[in-house]
Symmetry: C2
Subunit: 295 residues, 2 copies
């Protein structure tokens, strides 16, 4: 901690749940000499300053980005092209740009073209979060024991990748390096499909007649409430995820629908053995997740 910090100035673009958690963790672990945030919302800037999690905050890229060594973009992925256009002209060679977006191919597609020669791009995705959003929702321990996936393109400066790796490790994460395409395929099943299903089932319930809906709320402890937590996640962020990982998401929806139809058919025809066998198999996955300490 007495050595000079890993980064002179860390600039967080967009100060939501993830970036505000990075601000807190980076400060706690002395990872940056100075932490600043660029956010299009004046109110978010003020909140971040009031919370004391950044040293400076502003809406003007030229001012805020000056002297930044690491920039982490934490906006919804649909905003990446606009963010790239806004920050690109102000980036100095040697700067590292990373992000925390839930899809990676679209981020590479939308952000990379705006980065000038000599800027190092290390896309990232921390597998951590809560159903809450905004700068108030962050906390320094969010990344403890969680994976962070980095998807640098071939030929990316190794020192830049190392520095981003060290940042995440110091904040408590384990690192996995992956190709963007593979990342998007894995996350389609582990994250995007579960969120879509949760949004769907909660939507199905909210379309019920009023009196039945009240009872759904009352008796939600019987299974339903587990879905409502993730269906309370940020609507803009998730809209952008689905629009920007369309191919992989549509593929897993298709698989899911086939599997649901098979169970539906087993229920209709009273095939108890089919149901029981299926329900036994899914227990093994739960045990594996507990063993992997990700439960």
């Amino acid at each position: 901690m007495t050595a000079s910090p890993l980064f002179g100035t860390l600039c967080l673009v967009g100060i939501g749940l993830i970036n505000s958690s990075i601000a807190r963790a980076a400060r706690l672990h002395g990872l940056a000499g100075r932490i600043v945030t660029l956010d299009a919302s004046q109110q978010a800037c003020e909140t971040a300053l009031k919370l004391g999690i950044v040293d400076a905050a502003g809406t003007d890229p030229a001012t805020v980005l000056a002297g930044a060594d690491l920039i982490i973009v934490g906006t919804p992925v649909g905003a990446m092209a606009a963010v790239g256009a806004a920050i690109g002209p102000h980036l100095m060679p040697g700067t590292i740009v990373s992000d925390v977006g839930s899809v990676k191919m679209a981020v590479v597609r939308d952000l990379l073209p705006h980065l000038p020669e000599g800027v190092h791009f290390v896309p990232g995705h921390p597998i951590a979060g809560t159903e809450h959003s905004g700068p108030d929702a962050g906390f320094a321990e969010l990344f403890q024991g969680r994976w962070c996936i980095l998807t640098p393109l071939p030929g990316t400066d190794a020192v830049a990748v190392d520095k981003v790796t060290t940042l995440w490790r110091t904040m408590g994460s384990m690192i996995e390096i992956m190709e963007p395409h593979h990342h998007d395929k894995v996350l389609a099943i582990t994250s995007h499909l579960p969120h879509l299903i949760a949004y769907t089932i909660v939507g199905t319930a909210s379309d019920l007649e009023d009196d039945l809906q009240q009872e759904v709320i009352k008796f939600s402890a019987s299974g339903f409430r587990d879905f409502t937590r993730i269906a309370a996640s940020d609507p803009i962020m998730w809209r952008d995820v689905f629009l920007n990982n369309k191919e992989a998401v549509l593929e897993v929806i298709q698989r899911f629908t086939e599997d649901l139809t098979a169970l539906q058919r087993a229920i209709r025809w009273g095939e108890g053995e089919t149901l029981e066998t299926h329900f036994r198999e899914t227990r093994a996955i739960r045990r594996a997740i507990i063993d992997a300490k990700q439960a």
Copy 2:
């Protein structure tokens, strides 16, 4: 606590998660003079005795049921007809029979015909549980702050209903009285559909190629793991739920599938506004559940 207990002898038929929790809570609150369990498994009987949660345990109905004032059946609902046939001949007039099954029409259909004249039947369903099963998994606080639904048929002895109500209230529950048919419809959406969906999505993941499956486990914190918890629930219990609430479950699967198809279409055609609007609406349900203190 110094008054005589609500029930002289409480007999728990089947000593799994729910009934073993009742045993613990009933003892804690002095609700029964004596607590016994009838279970077809000699091993479950021994475990219950070893845990010290019952005063006696056995596999023979005639012996165990002798003198029981309240009998609570806590077996999978598919076993209700067999349980009825086994216990019916040993029941004395004035005995109260209840259950904790997750469906109610089928329990009335299968259990009631076996109960002799003068026996009071008060079907029940505590909206509480965990993904764990067996007598070891129970705990006395399971019902605290949770609802318990009772579905007595018209004309049921009011004193019997009152006594069962008092039992649940003393164990920490709130009581709701409902018709069996309505119960099954409400639970199809709050409980049965969520479990089926969770079983489906975890099954979809477990059908993936081995390397992808390892990654699903590793990165499950991104949403998937929330589903694996409920997909680890007891396979026999859930097989029986789906087979015994077929009509209501098939109806809600149909609604769910229509809704999922609509979102799938919005993703395919890039209809961001449709997605965002839907995702905003589901947040309201989460807030209502938090307000209802069932989160």
